[in-house]
Symmetry: C2
Subunit: 334 residues, 2 copies
């Protein structure tokens, strides 16, 4: 394989390989590129993250690329146990892009920043020739203030910990695909794009280190997050399919389009690994929050297996291994 | 004008208009997107910046897009009076891009990060379909630690302050254009891409608040920086053409290609506004540094004029007003 394939961007195994074997190869060791890095500055811990948003179409039911760019980066900060504070905004715009669309996107950026209580403090605008981009790509980087008492990391996960999912899965990916394919369902599928920082921050403020790990299931979906947890902890993650909330319309849409909903991207959900004795309180906190009403305890961390794996008890009572998607299930989903 | 033009990305007047009239319009007021923002966190001041690099060609004499992405962001931090500490790295790669090229770029990123003593701590990799990018675009955001005693801002500039330029101008822009046009000169023109953070940091450590303003003349070149200083301070900036160092090959190249060298992008230079009584020391510090050997005092801040302007005494003793380039002189120069 000597050329980049779309699948390299899918967030699945092939992305992991590209990052491990090419991107990290020349960086000083031990090189790790985290969703959010934690930096210590004179006793203050700050989180730092970046994401580019290349979603297509740029306007979709429930949001647009501008809203995603703000909320997605807020979510990455929140997953590191931080309160989002400041964002950068870097635009790469294709020649010929309608300025009216740019206005709509910026309006959306402004509203999202206000809602998420972040300030956009630095920016960059580049223009490339017609045919050298697809409308607009947006990068946001973000800085957050790590909450006192936050202690997030794969290394803290133990046997008996519970897996909490903050809401339904598949909404974003299916909304994008339905729009892209020109499909309409009797119940419209709407992206879940939202900042979950408020809820995730509240969990940490109330439960401190009992919240052991947080991750938002974007590219590669819930499956991607669970497999990452299993492989990094070398434990078995046991989940129950019936506990995973999926809206009926999303479920139907996934079936029509042939997608495994576990692999589909989300933009307003998170997975939390919580200490057993705090899981009821965590669930209660979530369910009282507008973005956590459908929160559910979907599984448990089991004993160490040789290399880590995710086992799902299916709806009909069987068991199957959940795999991380290999490559590109849905190109340009985020 | 209802569509984005290449000129909107040139860093000139049209870019300013786009930012003022569209991009900032919907952000909470007072919205300003600085090259680098300064954030206060519990008494520690950090600088935060972002830039996307869409340079074409991605490999050019003296560097490549990876080296630029690291050094350019270090430079933006240094211009805010900060020591670069941590960078993010976000790649947007076109399907079909040769992995060997990605390896060369990452090698360059790694070497540049080592040289600039920054750590790349967080990243993102997106892939877009063939024809939706032009090879690779890289965004880096950066965090720096503001040096104690640094006090950088247009508002500190006064009559009598001197304008220091750290070295020759035009090298980067001409190197890119020569490569793009397939021109070769008897003396090859090589980009000046470098991190000037070490030198700029040293100036501030030694001269503190006597260094009143710093800016690297990238897009829109030296003219862009000087006009920004004049219009933001509403003063006259008086410069002497003979004091501006330009390599003979660059000068010849600019003439052949029809470029005004003042407008051409640089990637390893900076302009400093320095208090009169510290200018000799500043010049000495620069000239002892490998990246400041050709440093020169190019002008003086004069009395307030109604709207600010830049006046240049030409080589033949005449005077002319220096304007900021309108739009896109050199597309995708950085």
């Amino acid at each position: 394989m000597d050329k980049i394939q779309l699948a390299h961007g899918g967030g699945g195994k092939l992305t992991d390989e590209l990052i491990d074997q090419v991107i990290l190869k020349y960086l000083p060791r031990p090189a790790v590129l985290l969703d959010s890095a934690i930096l210590e500055t004179d006793g203050t811990a700050i989180a730092f993250t970046t994401d580019s948003y290349v979603v297509s179409p740029i306007f979709f039911p429930g949001g647009d690329v501008g809203k995603m760019a703000v909320f997605g980066t807020c979510n990455d900060l929140a997953m590191a146990g931080a309160v989002p504070v400041s964002l950068s905004l870097a635009l790469i715009i294709e020649e010929g892009f309608e300025i009216e669309k740019l206005e709509r996107i910026m309006q959306s950026v402004g509203l999202a920043a206000k809602e998420a209580e972040v300030t956009i403090v630095t920016g960059d605008t580049k223009v490339v020739a017609y045919g050298q981009a697809d409308g607009i790509y947006i990068n946001t980087a973000g800085i957050g203030r790590v909450i006192s008492g936050a202690d997030i990391g794969f290394n803290r996960i133990e046997e008996g910990d519970k897996i909490l999912l903050s809401g339904t899965i598949g909404d974003h990916g299916l909304a994008i695909m339905a729009k892209r394919e020109g499909l309409s369902f009797s119940t419209p599928i709407v992206s879940d794009v939202a900042s979950v920082a408020g809820l995730a921050n509240e969990l940490i403020r109330k439960l401190g280190g009992k919240v052991k790990f947080l991750r938002d299931p974007t590219r590669a979906g819930l499956a991607g997050v669970l497999v990452d947890i299993a492989s990094n902890t070398r434990r078995e993650i046991f989940i129950q399919e019936r506990a995973i909330p999926v809206k009926p319309g999303v479920k139907a849409g996934a079936e029509v389009l042939g997608f495994e909903v576990l692999d589909v991207a989300n933009e307003g959900k998170f997975v939390a690994v919580v200490k057993d004795d705090a899981i009821e309180e965590a669930l209660e906190i979530c369910r009282k929050h507008p973005l956590g009403k459908a929160a559910s305890v979907i599984g448990t961390v089991h004993q160490t297996s040789s290399s880590g794996r995710v086992v799902m008890e299916t709806l009909i009572g069987g068991k199957r291994i959940v795999q991380k998607p290999y490559g590109e299930q849905l190109p340009r989903i985020c």
